[in-house]
């Protein structure tokens, strides 16, 4: 093959590589891209929520500690350690998976991170969409995930979305939460999210 031809092939492949990139978490990856980054939030899946986005729930403000030089939020010797962070996702997208990165060196206690929605139209009607829990004890950064998402379609302004957890000790550390999502546009974007025709008024045989 001539050099010119090789150069053209390299150019074409170089253009293709970003599209073929695989999300590091594997499951739940998607190749969609968000058309516009209007509000300054990440334009593509996943939405990464760093430890710095979490704030105390006010019950015991000194029961968590943001370790800025290592990028995680840890529990302390005080009881409590409950924190939360908002989740901003585009309306009508579909959540496909929920991941956390963490360090859990506490042999006696694990912790769970919840992805939750609460209704904005009635009182205290919340639903945990996904949960990811730590296990065992290790100084390593590990990952937990949930790919079974309850009510995965983002509906705004009907619901608010947030991530929360309680870090039971100084040996439990949350690094980030990641939410993978994809487009829900098309024929199932108007209340027929089941992907079947069960909600259709009439169905031709």
């Amino acid at each position: 093959m001539k050099h010119t031809q090789s150069f053209i092939v390299i150019l074409v492949l170089a253009a293709a590589v970003p599209t073929l990139a695989v999300a590091p978490d594997g499951e739940g990856r998607d190749d969609d891209s968000v058309a516009a980054n209007l509000n300054g939030f990440p334009a593509t899946s996943p939405l990464v929520i760093p430890a710095a986005a979490f704030a105390t729930n006010g019950d015991s403000p000194s029961s968590t500690n943001m370790i800025w030089y290592e990028g995680y939020i840890a529990g302390t010797a005080l009881a409590g350690g409950c924190i939360q962070a908002p989740v901003y996702l585009p309306d009508n997208t579909e959540i496909t998976s929920f991941y956390i990165s963490y360090i859990d060196e506490d042999g006696g206690q694990d912790f769970t991170v919840w992805l939750t929605r609460t209704t904005n139209t009635s009182v205290a009607a919340f639903l945990d969409l996904a949960t990811a829990s730590t296990t065992g004890s290790s100084p390593d950064v590990r990952t937990a995930w949930d790919t079974s998402i309850q009510e995965p379609i983002v509906q705004l302004p009907e619901y608010s979305y947030y991530v929360s957890t309680c870090l039971p000790s100084a040996s439990t550390k949350l690094i980030s939460a990641r939410i993978y999502f994809e487009s829900n546009d098309g024929i199932f974007a108007d209340g027929f999210e089941t992907g079947t025709t069960s909600n259709w008024t009439t169905v031709e045989p």
């Binding site: 969609d32 891209s33 968000v34 729930n57 006010g58 403000p61 585009p90 608010s160 947030y162």
Partner: protein, 167 residues
């Protein structure tokens, strides 16, 4: 040359077969949940984020803040508060109030854009709306935007603020 054309055609076909449809992106309304709000530091234990997804206070007035991100050039049409205002004995802050402010990035000037408050005492969700918005055009170059929510009682349950805007 035919071989080269075949290779390029193969790559193009492979790319075309990938799911490349774009998402719609973020759009109005902007819903700022209770989980986005943090204390001003005056009373770091004066509030509680309930696991059900709302903020409540502990009997004394407390201020909570959240950043607001809106597209540059957008027009804020209205601000709606989602809150429950149950019976309480707070006189200094008898209702749940949300204020949308803008602050200049080059001075200490603050402009109040909208204000909404609950009324009366009820165990149901209230949705007061302010459609008279001042300084309604977003200019992210010159201003920063944030919400301020004022609570007092454990029966004040703040859920979210909904900001409707047009582009």
């Amino acid at each position: 040359m035919k071989r080269l054309a075949g290779i390029i055609l193969g790559v193009v076909v492979a790319l075309t077969a990938l799911p490349t449809h774009a998402l719609e992106g973020y759009s109005s309304p902007m819903v700022v949940p209770a989980a986005a709000f943090h204390n001003d530091g005056e009373d770091p234990s004066g509030f509680f984020f309930h696991p059900d997804g709302y903020l409540e206070a502990n009997g004394s007035p407390v201020s909570m803040y959240a950043a607001v991100y809106l597209p540059d050039g957008a027009t804020v049409e209205s601000v709606t508060l989602k809150a429950v205002d149950g019976s309480d004995t707070c006189s200094a802050q008898a209702s749940v109030t949300a204020v949308l402010d803008r602050a200049s990035i080059s001075s200490e000037t603050i402009h109040q854009m909208a204000l909404v408050s609950t009324t009366g005492a009820s165990s149901t969700m209230q949705s007061p709306t302010d459609s008279t918005v001042f300084y309604e055009t977003i200019s992210n170059i010159h201003y920063r935007y944030y919400l301020r929510v004022l609570l007092c009682s454990a029966s004040h349950h703040f859920y979210s603020v909904e900001i409707n805007y047009s582009e």
